[in-house]
């Protein structure tokens, strides 16, 4: 194994971890408010399609990401209304979103491009180094500068999240909603309001995570391009013990698995490439199996909050 291989692998890990960071943070904000959301895969799918379309039409990947976030919020409002106001079971409704949102994305794509469309491509977001005009072969410089703005945003969000949930009053109130909503309500916290805000944040982040795939990673949209990342993000939140820093490490690990898989495919070694593609999924199963029973998640997560209940 050459240094080249390793440095490329590490650079790719950071890139592949980014969509997972967005999706995991989306899940984290949702669960911290007591909403277990297994529909991130769907939110990311619609985010990725809308991000693709808008960056194709406007020529600006930035606007694409913004539109992806908006689409994520819109679709997630369905989830919010059903689970918060109608008290639908969160798991079941997350599943409904997983079925609805990708179908919607596929439909919009078909309608926009027609049936027998050719492959449409968009220009990807520039790396910081390209924008600044710096080219270097130095590994550290590449790691720091050969990244899209989305990567810096992801890390900034992780730092913000860690501070918000641990050091601010508002963050502690937010967490209280996820732990014990009734106690939070008696303290004067608007439980329903916080839950709705959580859904807005979750939708935006998940939409951005999806949009990353079509504006920063691959320059085209295909059905199923989220490829289970929405579910891996769920695992990353569990693995990261529901904390900002933990989630980041978990995402870097899963990102590394993804990068390794791509690198190994190129090398091939006479093994069918599908075995390498399995790596991220098997790693997720193994990691979950190893963590075991320890429960550290918000105690109120998954339960509906009925104001009238006494």
């Amino acid at each position: 194994m050459s240094w080249d291989f390793i440095s490329n692998l590490l650079l790719a890990s950071v890139r592949m971890a980014t969509p997972l960071i967005f999706l995991s943070l989306a899940e984290l904000y949702s669960q911290r408010a007591g909403l277990v959301h297994i529909g991130l895969e769907g939110l990311a799918a619609i985010g990725s399609l809308v991000g693709f379309l808008v960056s194709l039409i406007t020529g600006s990947p930035m606007l694409g990401v913004l539109a992806g976030a908006l689409a994520g919020i819109l679709v997630n409002m369905i989830f919010a209304y059903a689970t918060i106001s109608l008290c639908a079971e969160q798991i079941v409704y997350g599943m409904a979103i997983n079925i609805f949102a990708p179908a919607l994305a596929a439909f919009i794509y078909r309608v926009y491009f027609g049936a027998g469309s050719t492959l449409v491509q968009v220009t990807l977001m520039n790396n910081l180094s390209t924008t600044l005009g710096i080219t270097s072969d130095n590994f550290l410089l590449k790691l720091l500068l050969d990244q899209t703005p989305m990567v810096y945003l992801a890390y900034a969000l992780v730092i913000f999240t860690a501070i918000y949930f641990n050091k601010t009053k508002s963050g502690l109130n937010y967490k209280a909603v996820g732990e014990y909503p009734k106690a939070a309500a008696t303290l004067g916290i608007n439980v329903i309001g916080v839950k709705y805000i959580a859904c807005i944040i979750c939708g935006a982040l998940a939409g951005m995570g999806g949009a990353f795939l079509t504006t920063c990673y691959s320059n085209t949209y295909v059905d199923g391009n989220v490829a289970g990342r929405g579910f891996i993000a769920l695992a990353a939140v569990i693995f990261g013990r529901w904390s900002g820093g933990g989630v980041l490490l978990a995402c870097l690990f899963f990102g590394f698995c993804d990068a390794l898989q791509i690198r190994l495919q190129v090398g091939s070694f006479g093994v069918p490439y599908q075995f390498f593609q399995m790596i991220p999924y098997i790693a997720t199963v193994v990691v979950l199996a190893l963590i075991g029973m320890k429960k550290a998640g918000p105690k109120g997560a998954g339960k509906p909050y009925l104001r009238e209940d006494r």
Binding site: C87, M95, F231, I238, Q274, M278, L288, G292
Partner: protein, 353 residues
Amino acid sequence: MKNSNKLISVLVPVASVLLAFAIGCAVMAGLGANPLVALQSLWTGAFGNLRNVGTTLARATPLIFTGLCACFAYRCGVFNLGGEGQFIIGSVACCYMATQTGIEGFPAIVLCLLAGILAGGIWALIPGLLKVYRGQNEMIISIMLNYVATLFMGVVYTNWLREGSVPQTMSVPDTTKLSRIFGLRATTAFIIAIVVGLLIYYFLFYTSKGFQLRAVGLNMTAAEFNGFSVKRYILFSFVVSGAIAGLGGSAELLGTQYRLINGFAAGYGFDGVAMALIAQLHPLATILVAIFFAALRVGSTTMQAATGVPTSVSDIIQALVIVFTVAGLAMVKLSQFKAAIDRIFARKETVAS
């Protein structure tokens, strides 16, 4: 009260279907097609003549299996989202049995189906064991295993059992294929699916084990206190649910597809979950919903030819049905809504008496 509940549990999905179709029609009109013509061609495509009915039932068959798979596990309170993986692993085992062992005829069919059942059951055992002994989230694990199974099938049809230059496996021998019903596209696989549905219905509602399984699903703690072995029921429900999907996979291979190829079974797992939820975990209702889903799919091809509306509009309608049904079922459980319903029924009863 009981009757009103039953009525509501039928009314909600029906209303959801109507609402979904209304939105679907609005979308079609927006695309410049005549919704009435579209709906009519949808109907003719799915049920217009006996041949089309056969095609619809053939399309429904795999969906019935994955629907029953999701339904059975969720009755025991565990969410098996891995129906697709279990379906695929079952079909891979079946494909190996049918093409590599040299056996043919009726015994081959039985062995192939058994191989599928076994493989599906074992594949489902993985999330089951991890759930029971490691307390892990069975949903994530079963979904991850879907991806692994799909990729594994990829290895099989691009490498191990590949035939010729096209990435696909060789075909199942003619004598091992399931026979068609009256020469239609639907095969005996459909009959197997119906029988499985009836068996599950009988087991869940007419046996004590089935009662205990449902008790575990309704309240695990209470079931535990009653001395039911919760762990054993969870494992059992996972294995059986995987076995149903695995049987579905092998029946689909022997009945319709004959060979493994890219895209085999894609989306069947989540479709199954959607159908089980719309049917509110009732096995027989699941079969009906599966036929409805299949009709939408088969009919949408005719609709596309007649009106130019893309077939994916049927996916939207399906997705809306699930979105509305689940929300509707939650809504009728809200206390305000319940009170309103009770008032209506109380008034009727006083009028009647």
